[in-house]
Symmetry: C2
Subunit: 449 residues, 2 copies
Amino acid sequence: MLMGIYRTATESEAGKTVGVDPTTITAPEARKLAEKIKKKGGKDLVAVKENLVDLVWGKEKPARPNEQAKVLSNEYAGKSYQDKIAELRKEIDKKGSAGLVVSMLDEIAWLFNLRGNDIPYNPVFFSYATVTASTVTLYIDESKLNSQARAHLAGVTIRPYDAIFSDIEALARSEATTEGKEGKKQKYLISTKASWALSQALGGEKNVEEVRSPVGDAKAVKNETELKGMRNCHIRDGAALIEFFAWLEDELVNKSARIDEVEAADKLETIRSKHEHFVGLSFDTISSTGPNAAVIHYKPERGQCSTIDPAAIYLCDSGAQYFDGTTDTTRTLHFGSPTEMERKAYTLVLKGHIALDVVRFPKGTSGFALDTLARQFLWQEGLDYRHGTGHGVGSYLNVHEGPIGIGTRVQYSEVPLAVGNVISNEPGYYEDGGFGIRIESESAPKVYL
Amino acid sequence: MLMGIYRTATESEAGKTVGVDPTTITAPEARKLAEKIKKKGGKDLVAVKENLVDLVWGKEKPARPNEQAKVLSNEYAGKSYQDKIAELRKEIDKKGSAGLVVSMLDEIAWLFNLRGNDIPYNPVFFSYATVTASTVTLYIDESKLNSQARAHLAGVTIRPYDAIFSDIEALARSEATTEGKEGKKQKYLISTKASWALSQALGGEKNVEEVRSPVGDAKAVKNETELKGMRNCHIRDGAALIEFFAWLEDELVNKSARIDEVEAADKLETIRSKHEHFVGLSFDTISSTGPNAAVIHYKPERGQCSTIDPAAIYLCDSGAQYFDGTTDTTRTLHFGSPTEMERKAYTLVLKGHIALDVVRFPKGTSGFALDTLARQFLWQEGLDYRHGTGHGVGSYLNVHEGPIGIGTRVQYSEVPLAVGNVISNEPGYYEDGGFGIRIESESAPKVYL
């Protein structure tokens, strides 16, 4: 989408003004785009509050999903939302800020110990939240909250989802909250990933400090209960995977059955779903045979996908949501005799996976610094893979979460890995039109004495 | 020094104005300091052109060194200064800039194929330079240039060293150079490491773009002649080191001689000085015995240093300037029986050195990403070292040069290593009060097919 937006800038010459729906772009992106527009001879970027596409939709626009948001009990969350708010307030105070507007859906779900079902695979719900020294407000359609959720949120002000913009406009105007301890005007924190619309509602840059969200930072450091849950759900999930792979081998090799990629994925989902605390998948299963395994984000289409070839590589990248955690595992198998190159590539990928798995590193080391360990054996043969090596994994939340990561993106150098993180380890190798290999497990750094 | 400056900020409360000599601080540092001062309740940071320390010195102030600057022939430089200027102008044009003010002494020496002797170990000379589309000006005391240098610099305008500030003030005011192709005002490039005084003389931020110097970037990529010279001088330098170590072993072990750290360093210098093209040392030799080897930047003092203990580790970090290149090598020796821990640490450091030496890596990989390879074996044992793993090395220039480096500083992620770079590989291990180990050689990335 952004590619399109930036192309727009090149068409803004001769003093044109460019309009954009400020809820679809972040504040840093808006600044960058405005700069580009001016450089190209355009006049400026302006926020257009009425979304033009919505106007065309008119009454035919599909309603926003409105599933129930459910309470995640302390048995799984490990910490009350009151304690999380108290810790967050310490961070807000440390930064000398008036408050925080939370806009990332997984951060809100984590902060309030609620899970929803508005977005496929991600147990989140449409919402915003604000936290100040004296108030906690959740912006959510009340119909999403059952009586248990309402009782759980005692002490939290519930406001309609759409009220966020007018409310924070009023909040930023209020003298009381913008006057700091030392007589200096306090700013509101928003995430660098928050929409431009939020920044504008707060009065723009003079009232806003864009930061890496302290909620995201806190969420990435799992507590003991969450870590235990992650381990437990991976044991169940691992058992499901083994059962599935054994079934698949039996079908393909012993029974010479014709099984296509989607049928295999369905079988795996059926096996997973029998396990305790199963909620659903955490992303579209990548069930891929032969050359399809070389397509990093391959998605087999029902009825149109390939039949699994027992004489080729089969790569399966899959995961699930459980009440006690989120899984994401890739295994690359061959039910016959792999070629020399397939064996070699698998060995190099596995060596990288193991090097990253066993590494001991000092406090302060980031995923940027560790990335090379996973690639070194491929590099030595002139090979590489064009994706990151690891991403943070949510705790019964989004299967991809920041701010940590292992890879060559410089942002991964900003956040050291820490005890409590759960991060994937997934080097790979891909030969276009040939085969693909990826070996992925989740890791959790431990303190080494 | 900067620590002191920043402490000053904390004493600026109650609306005080803080003055600073703008030639002693960079423009980014000045901005940061001004911000700190205001945050602490001070009024502002102002540039004080008259240096207060100089006022106290009065006529007793020692004169600036004024050694001759000599021509480095193409036989060693490999590229004429005219070609370097032509390439630099392409970079200036690519950036849409009016010109570049060159302030780093090693960049000026490299750009004009001149070498000086104003600063110990660094063959540079006091100077500034400016390059625009139509002019090249070198600011240097004319007395530093002999007739050969003057002939070499035909086509370059020579101006007095101190004229730089008034000249660039006039340059920035001139309509002709500040009016760009598209009617937009062009800025002057200065290095982010240039002094605040230079930025101010150009009229400040509105006229200045602070960049990583394109001269520094070009200098870091050695040409074939420079690379050949670097290899050749390392062969001669290596022979000198071997002769020295053999002599030292003979003295200590066979003759049971008492040799102190400075005597050993002197002997090494004498041996080096007999080799072709020798100019001088490239830094103070670190000749260190036993616990002294644990002091990373140890400098033995004549008459007060330790006698080399043949039953302890001896660490020698040294290098020299030759007409055809600059060397920097560390070897750690033991003339008796090292302890178990010394053997183990040496092995771990050597493994890291070798891992970095043999690594193959794809285009675009930075020294930040490679650093971990050198540390991994120490990390695995819970050990580490608190210095970078590698620095760029000049070509008969400063023994430390940017912008490349191997280490945990995030700036090293900004510049990929490239063919033509010469960079040190020097992991180590230090036990306070015990021993120190460092193994350092220079590396030059090659294209791998």
